[in-house]
Symmetry: C2
């Protein structure tokens, strides 16, 4: 595997509060802390294991909401406590990565960072590791912002896409990003896939700390200013207070929108390693093992004439009769039954619960 001259680090972003796996995911325990594939390993643990072969635990950083620090420590006891970076408020990915970049640069000097969401799945772990190593090396060599693109295998409408092209400037296997495209409709997605010049935007990145921090100063000065204060306080007794005070003052903005769509030189490395963002319950039919009728089963499930369903339960028997493309998720205090096509409307239930002041179910 290719390595970098500078220290190679990884930042796992684990602060998300996604509600798309409600009622299994809760505000107290969102998706990245759940085992959704029936093997007992949580999404966060899988992400850690994926990266551990190429980055040692002492250089793996986790950025997460203050509420989840205990969950991270429980699930990843191998990570040094000082590598757990606390977000005092949710400010999306650009500030989250800026915090990690400045802490890493302060501690290790200029480094190469891999940035990874904590809640995606990868089927071919070693192919993924190889692509990440090549991305890290290219990021160091070119001083560019690198995003990992995924060669699309079908016209998914739930992902963002990257338009890419060859460039003379980049090393072999590294391409230039021409533009980012929001989630397309099905027809557009079909055209993207057919054209061969689009990749899925995976949300995995590689860059040098200096490259990212320079981009922040240039494109998000409000974030850059506070990031400098955080860097100055890092590893001093004041750090926690400065973080609590300053971090929430940053604007809430994603790295895609705030930096990547504005910066001049963005490169991409296309990967093909069975990546999936597992965005909602129906995704389990793509990424997890199913029975001969195409049903995903987690728990004690009996089926009669039932196909392409998702069952996620506990100890209680779930009996399914004549169901097709239905999601059934049973927990101690809430049961969800949902048509596959309406999965995006699960958030209407969580909105109703919020309106009704039933926060204990969120």
């Amino acid at each position: 595997m290719q390595t970098t001259q500078r220290p190679m680090t990884a930042v796992i972003m684990a602060g998300g509060k996604g509600e798309r796996f409600w009622p299994k995911s809760r505000v107290q325990c969102p998706k990245q802390f759940l085992s959704l594939t029936g093997d007992g390993e949580t999404m966060l643990q899988k992400t850690f294991r994926r990266i551990r072969g190429i980055v040692p635990p002492e250089r793996i950083y986790i950025v997460t909401n203050g509420e989840y620090m205990t969950l991270v420590q429980e699930q990843l006891p191998e990570i040094p406590e000082q590598n757990l970076l606390r977000e005092p408020a949710a400010r999306n990915t650009a500030p989250c990565i800026a915090l990690a970049a400045t802490v890493i640069e302060k501690r290790l000097g200029e480094s190469v960072m891999l940035v990874l969401p904590a809640d995606h799945l990868v089927r071919h772990e070693s192919l993924c590791a190889d692509v990440l190593c090549r991305a890290a090396a290219a990021a160091e060599e070119t001083d560019a912002l690198l995003t990992i693109g995924i060669t699309p295998t079908y016209p998914e409408t739930g992902y963002g896409y990257i338009a890419f092209s060859r460039t003379q400037d980049a090393p072999a296997g590294v391409y230039q990003v021409d533009s980012f495209r929001e989630k397309p409709d099905l027809e557009t997605a079909r055209q993207y896939v057919a054209s061969g010049s689009y990749l899925w935007n995976s949300g995995m990145f590689a860059w040098k700390t200096s490259t990212y921090l320079n981009a922040v100063r240039k494109y998000l000065p409000a974030v850059g200013e506070i990031t400098e204060k955080l860097g100055a306080a890092c590893d001093t007794p004041e750090f926690s207070n400065v973080l609590t005070e300053q971090f929430p003052l940053m604007p809430s903005i994603s790295v895609d929108f705030g930096i990547l769509e504005k910066a001049k030189r963005i490169y991409t490395i296309p990967g093909t390693f069975g990546w999936d963002d597992v965005g909602s319950w129906p995704a389990l039919l793509r990424v997890a093992r199913t029975d001969t009728n195409g049903n995903y089963r987690d728990g004690d499930v009996l089926t009669v004439g039932t196909t392409n369903c998702v069952f996620s339960g506990g100890k209680k028997l779930i009996a399914a009769v004549g169901l097709h493309e239905i999601i059934v998720v049973d927990t101690d205090d809430a049961l969800l039954v949902c048509d596959m096509e309406a999965a995006q409307n699960v958030r209407k239930i969580t909105e109703m619960l919020r309106e009704q002041g039933r926060g204990e179910l969120l």
Copy 2:
């Protein structure tokens, strides 16, 4: 209301073990002991209340399985203990009614009996009571076996039908039964309803004890012989032992098949009082109150884009998203999710549980 010269009695048959309301109904607590309409009153209690206005509690008899004696006593404390007749084994309706007929005749002399299943629903209680009184009077007057027919309102394929015609012999409003028809297919059911000469077979009957016991002796001599032994032992110290020994020796046979389809003079009185046998979960959409989207809701239920579903739960939240014609029944140890059209296949689940030796879930 018409009354009878002889004592008027009622027999409620409450020994059924139907599994079509699994997992709410269990071997330990079948349908007749459940409240399915969301008003807290069980089917048995409703049947008792329906008849109480025309027959005093001391002349209402309940025949049930030995296992359910306690349930009956709890739900109907008004019924004298000696009117609870125990079936030591399930032998279908002909022996069940014979037991009641011989006990009643022994105690009250020749009487008129109304025979009622414990697990049907009636919307218009007073209209039903009126028809039952007329049936009792006609049974006494004509010495015939009378069955209550229901004027069909739609081509139900889950009911048996009665072909009927006018007869000079019978009192006004009483018709002759020409034949009984098994559950028809939809096309046949449509023809039955369109013809105007068919009624639904309600399973409610009226006759004199002597008429029934004579018919048993004639058409079911094996039942008749044992019935005589039971009558002889009735209200003696030996009764319980004789019942335990003799009753299981009777053949298992329905009154429809064993007597009504063979006997010569069967009359029917057509009734129109919102009767329903509530044969399975989908029937609740016909008989119980539904929301503006046609959903039956028993429990804490939130819906989004959901129509014509049945929800039966407990304290746990049931959240339904994008569902149409789906049945969701949640209990402490088993959850059923079933397509409305496949409701008859719920028994495949109970068969699987039986095969797997999981009797605690039945």
